[in-house]
């Protein structure tokens, strides 16, 4: 088999886990488990490299010349982006056959695609770590590091990612075309086209840095605040049907509403990245205005959440998944809504952009909007994998592991966000507003007590998060094992529409 020919050092471990009684799962679901496993490995990598980078803020000499800060930061961020993408892809493979009503089209190809993509990710990370310094030229762009923040993968990997996304799209769209379409699947497939298409905007260089940054932000912003949000909306819609028995007509209608509202403000909200890169001045107005509108849909959706919760006495068949879906709602509201709005207008962003204030927003927004939903979905998948067993209240160990991991991860993230905000506030004040963004002011800002203490507390809460992650992984390995009770019955989803 061609699949077997692809060497990968983690394959035996993956196969051992995947072989653990997956007979009741469909081909798509078995593939999804592999994606979830790699997602969790990368989650661990993200945490570890984040801890190292955090330590280097406190002890700049730590690992200097061995594993420099810029490399740690790059791997920390790249691991986050890729583990979330793996989580999304896994979630889609998990739901695609259930949603389409047929078996996965091109299952073998999809498996090969997984190994190719995972091997490429492993090679890219190894090269990041082995070749940390050197001249930047055409060869390094193609084979080592493209040098573009957040999407540093070299050009060969860029092309590979597009090909792999093409195969992923083929298998998903092909399955829906062979089976049945629904509102969720239609939205999902259209979104996947945009997701793959937008990545192309980050794959070419121009000699004008402003123009280059202009296109680069298309990937970074429009992925995060448009296509990823829609993807998560689709996953959440399906997840709500499965965990709460929410009606299909309702979740589909609200998916459309959400997409309309998100695109209404989110696309031109892109302008808040164009404030200071040399683009025309009108972007200050466009970016400021539409960014300011972005939290309004989030606030308005609170009404629907209250309405839904009060109108229907929902019973959850999966408490951990539901708890993470709730964490998603709050995290998205606080991280993207509150933390985004406090520094989105150019009047204040002049001082805050690129400081720890931005980092504070980025951490909570990514965790709240995306990490939470992937974790929720993994719990949904685990329940089915372990035999569709009971995961509501009254778990044998009182569910202490999932409850504590939920608490530690969320408290850790919130604490880290506040600590970074304090450091960022000081940095905006001393380095930017008073110091005028000079090189000397940059170093003065980094040595102020509020900055240093903010970084110390960030480290403390980073450790809290790491403990939460360890518990989470332990819970993933054990929850539902030995459970004999079947999952709680909830309302069946309504008929397919669209």
């Amino acid at each position: 088999m061609a699949e077997a020919a692809i060497a990968n050092p983690v394959r035996p471990a993956l196969d051992a886990i995947a072989a653990r009684d997956t007979s009741s799962l469909s081909a798509g679901q078995r593939l999804a488990l592999k994606y979830f496993l790699v997602a969790m490995v990368l989650f661990v990598a993200q945490m570890l490299f984040g801890l190292l980078a955090g330590l280097q803020f406190l002890y700049p000499e730590f690992l200097y010349g061995v594993l420099d800060f810029n490399v740690n930061r790059m791997v920390h961020i790249n691991a986050m982006i890729v583990w979330m993408l793996y989580g999304f892809i896994g979630s889609i493979y998990w739901l695609v056959e259930d949603e389409a009503g047929v078996e996965l089209v091109g299952a073998k190809l999809a498996n090969i695609n997984f190994w190719v993509l995972t091997s490429a990710v492993a090679v890219v990370v190894v090269v990041y770590l082995v070749v940390q310094v050197g001249p930047g030229n055409k060869m390094s762009i193609w084979f080592i590091n493209e040098g573009r923040e957040y999407i540093e993968a070299p050009r060969w990997a860029d092309i590979g990612i597009v090909v792999c996304m093409g195969v992923f799209f083929y298998t998903v769209a092909g399955t829906f075309m062979k089976g049945r379409w629904s509102g969720i699947s239609g939205t999902l497939v259209l979104d996947l086209i945009a997701l793959a298409g937008l990545y192309l905007a980050g794959m070419f260089y121009t000699t004008n840095l402003s123009v280059d940054q202009y296109w680069w932000w298309w990937v970074v912003h429009l992925w995060v605040e448009a296509t990823w949000e829609v993807l998560v909306g689709c996953i959440m819609a399906w997840g709500l049907m499965k965990t709460l028995g929410a009606r299909r007509e309702i979740v589909t209608t609200w998916l459309y509403i959400e997409v309309a509202m998100m695109f209404g403000a989110g696309i031109l909200g892109l302008g808040h990245h164009y404030f200071w890169i040399g683009t025309p001045e009108y972007w200050l107005g466009i970016g400021g205005f539409f960014s300011a509108l972005e939290p309004i849909p989030l606030v308005a959706m609170v009404v629907h959440a209250v309405y839904d919760a009060g109108r229907h006495s929902f019973q959850s068949r999966n408490h951990p998944a539901l708890a993470w879906l709730i964490a998603h709602a709050f995290g998205n509201f606080l991280g993207a809504g509150v933390w985004g709005f406090i520094h989105t207008l150019p009047q204040i962003n002049l001082y805050t952009h690129g400081t720890q204030w931005t980092t504070s927003h980025g951490h909570l927004a990514f965790f709240g909007a995306y990490a939470t939903i992937v974790i929720a979905f993994i719990y949904i998948a685990l329940q089915r994998w372990r035999g569709d067993v009971w995961m509501s209240g009254d778990l044998p160990d009182r569910g202490w592991k999932w409850k504590w991991s939920l608490a530690l991860l969320n408290v850790g993230m919130l604490g880290m966000t506040i600590a970074l905000l304090i450091a960022g506030y000081e940095q905006s004040f001393i380095e930017r507003a008073i110091g005028g963004s000079t090189w000397a002011a940059y170093f003065e800002g980094q040595t102020q007590p509020w900055f240093v203490q903010g970084m110390q507390w960030r480290m403390v809460f980073g450790v809290v998060m790491t403990l939460g992650m360890v518990l989470l992984l332990w819970d993933f390995l054990t929850i539902g094992r030995g459970e004999t009770r079947p999952a709680k019955e909830v309302h069946a989803p309504g008929p397919h529409v669209g």
Partner: protein
């Protein structure tokens, strides 16, 4: 043109911005819960939350120097945070009502 936030107002600008979103959410929650549970006390509370929203928005506009064309943003924020939750309520009633075989009028009663 923009007039950047003055040094002494950075904290006011950030806190009032956060206040807008949080009071907006408080208004939305009181409005929705009041209608859902029929609790009369929540109606004045929702208006109180909206008044607080107006106050922090004015503070925000002052701290952020929202003058000239930027003043329009203040107006849009005030109208948006007032109207959007009500619109979503109507959508909620309409979508759920249709799905469950009820009319919107019946839900509003």
């Amino acid at each position: 043109m923009i007039d950047p936030v003055e040094l002494q107002r950075i904290a006011v600008a950030a806190l009032s911005a956060g206040g807008i979103v949080l009071f907006g959410a408080a208004y939305a929650i009181c409005l929705a819960l009041g209608r859902l549970k029929g609790l009369a006390i929540l109606r004045p509370l929702s208006y109180l939350a909206y008044l607080a929203l107006v106050a922090v928005t004015v503070l925000f506009a002052w701290a952020m120097n929202l003058t000239g064309a930027w003043a329009f943003l203040t107006l849009v924020l005030l109208v948006g945070y007032f109207v959007a939750p009500r619109a979503i309520w109507r959508l909620s009633v309409a979508t759920h009502g249709t799905s469950e075989g009820k009319t919107m009028e019946a839900e509003n009663e």
